[in-house]
């Protein structure tokens, strides 16, 4: 007997290790049955359960106890049981609830995407695009805050925050001497550093990477460029503090931003230190590995090397077509 448990998500069966959450089981299957997650972050312990976008319906609890769960559950914090059956996009109830949650997330969001640095790589933007309504029913003033500088490298734009608590987990788990947390309650809660004390730590910059929206932005990159005009390139350096594995974001010859490498769920692979992120901004600091793989449906790929149209001379010559077959196939996908 294997020690794996079997779970069925939207009719697709998968075997996973006991203790896996429904969300991670769905990620092992992949594709569009993966529930969206705004607050869960696999690299941050204890995160998740808050944003409620990953709600799913458990239509069968387990093989032993087949009763369905009475309420929709947060898939990021619910562990699978053997024989569990989960409905995500096949359940109208879930789709409806998720739409409701997305509406709630957006009612106090400033929707300033045209001037927001996160636009193009923003989880909320994707989520709103997939699940949101075109019009808001909210007719009141949105809550507003003053922008706050957290140290000299990070700016907090609280208006955009969806209170996912990821950055506070970064402060808890990556940095020592925590001085960053959530103050206030309810819809007047806000992310803050106590008395605006600077977050000064080698790893504090990761807050920017984990932020699903544009609430925490890199001050060295603010308003420099739209993300889809930049070219991401994987690179590494021999860093004494962190792994040194990063993505460089080029505009022409210039490195205008350094971030950690992100996977398809917008989660970083390894956290990087502030030196790599903020101070090493010339090509000579880095060993280039090659272009970063970007999902072809991402807006960032609109400017990516692999999707560049082949020159007309290549398109006509059969030998050249054969030599560039890979590129041709990618072009046809778009």
């Amino acid at each position: 007997m294997s020690d794996k448990v079997k779970v069925t998500i939207d009719g697709i069966a998968v075997e996973v290790a006991p203790g896996t959450t429904i969300l991670n089981a769905a990620r092992q299957i992949g594709g569009d049955i993966v529930p969206p997650a705004m607050c869960y972050y696999s690299k941050l312990e204890g995160s998740g359960g808050k944003c409620r976008t990953c709600l799913v319906k458990v239509s069968k609890g387990s093989e032993k106890d087949p009763r369905p769960m009475p309420k929709l559950v947060a898939s990021c914090r619910t562990t699978v049981m053997d024989g569990m059956e989960v409905e995500n996009i096949t359940s109208p109830e879930v789709v409806e609830a998720r739409k409701g949650v997305v509406e709630m997330l957006l009612i106090n969001h400033p929707l300033d995407c045209p001037v927001c640095d996160q636009a193009g790589e923003c989880s909320l933007q994707d989520l709103g695009f997939e699940h949101g309504a075109a019009q808001t029913r909210y007719e009141f003033d949105r809550r507003t805050f003053e922008r706050i500088d957290i140290g000299d490298k990070i700016q907090l734009h609280m208006n955009r925050c969806i209170l996912c608590y990821r950055c506070t987990y970064v402060a808890d788990q990556l940095t020592d001497g925590r001085c960053h947390g959530v103050i206030g309650r309810g819809d007047h809660a806000e992310i803050s550093t106590y008395i605006e004390k600077a977050v000064d730590n080698d790893y504090s910059g990761n807050m920017i990477d984990v932020c699903p929206v544009g609430a925490l932005t890199d001050k060295t990159f603010r308003f420099k460029n739209r993300v889809w005009f930049t070219k991401p390139v994987d690179a590494h350096r021999d860093c004494p503090t962190c792994s040194g594995k990063v993505t460089l974001w080029y505009k022409g010859e210039e490195v205008i931003r350094v971030t950690a490498r992100k996977d398809q769920y917008n989660e970083v692979e390894e956290f990087i230190c502030n030196t790599c992120r903020f101070d090493k901004k010339s090509t000579s600091d880095w060993v280039i590995e090659g272009p970063t793989a970007i999902r072809h449906d991402s807006v960032i790929s609109s400017n990516h090397y692999e999707t560049l149209k082949p020159l007309p001379v290549i398109q006509k010559n059969e030998k050249l077509i054969e030599a560039n077959l890979e590129q041709f196939q990618k072009t046809q996908k778009d």
Partner: protein, 453 residues
Amino acid sequence: MARKLLFEHINVPGINTFDVYRKQGGYCAVEKALKSLSPDDVVEEVKKSGLRGRGGAGFPTGMKWSFLAKPEGVPRYLVCNADESEPGTFKDRYLMTNIPHLLIEGMIVSSYALGANTSYIYVRGEMMPQIRILEKAIAEAKAAGFLGKNILGSGFDLELYVQPGGGAYICGEETALLESLEGKRGNPRIKPPFPAVSGLYGCPTVVNNVESIAAVVPIVNEGGDEYAKIGVGRSTGTKLISASGNINKPGVYEIELGVSVEEFIYSEEYCGGIANGKRLKAVVAGGSSVPILPANLILKTTNGENRLMTYESLSDGGFATGTMLGSGGFVVLDEDACIVRNTWNFSRFYHHESCGQCSPCREGTGWMEKVLHRLEYGHGTISDIDLLVNVAKQIEGNTICPLGDAAAWPVASAIRHFRDEFEWHVTHPQEALKGNYGLAHYADPLPQIAQTV
């Protein structure tokens, strides 16, 4: 005169002091339990009594206790939830003010039953006078040898602490209470794991309401079977009801479960009828979180039976025509009360008290409050009413803790039963600012519903 179990000696002068309380038969339950019963016997008695949690959810206390995990070498905790802050509920405060030793006696017996050697009473921060009363009472009990090491020579040790909260409604939710008790931000935890497995400091913990713990005292004194004889069906024993609103005699009443709602409102023994000769319009039967019911539905169920003050009878008809006993905050609204304003006021409370962890509750409570404010002040539109129903539905059931439900139910039920009053606020904005809708048809006898099976 109905039987009183908790408040039998409430009018004895000086009952708040140890000596008088002891003279009236106080701490007998401790002596009985520690000397003649094993911890499991006490749990068994509580199970037999059918006592259901008095904090709102009505979960059987004995069952909750038997779920407590008992791993070797790990301490277990009993935490008393005295973070009473539901609008309309004030029974625990009354109990702690007037007869604090009853709670302490209950804590000792319950801790013994659960094998807890450290127990906490988490009191809402606003109740500073009650905190001082409890601390004084604990000191008295300790001086008399009922707390501390080797109580009454039984070998059972217990330290009892009072912990003031920061005054947040959300900390009345058991896992948020535990977070707060640990010194963290009072955000509810995601369940499972339940506190019975991993609660305070990751140890097995039971969290009970003040009244539930106090009720253990008469259960041990008289036996679970004897206690179960009081009440109707699965609603056994007595319940403290905080009666407020426009009634002749507001206050805290101990009732035997099974009294009819009509008797409770109109009899001289309890509320004494509606004040100033007004007529009954609506009742919020169990604290602000439960659905509001109009006069005709609160007095009779849809089957034409009298509605009783029991868990089952009040919830008869589900959410369509029923409500819940909740924590026993009985708010009576007469014909001059404006349901829209009342709903807005409740909504304002939940907006203020939402912890802000889950997005639907954080954003939705504020949204509902703003729409209701607009309706109340004559700027609403008819579509606002459906919007409210829809927003309430988006919150309900989609949050970590029940606060989201508690915020959604009053709004949804008010619109369900008083929709024409909401519409009147839209169609007659000027009149709505000056006067109110009045009783309308809310007290009319219920139409005979044709049986459709």
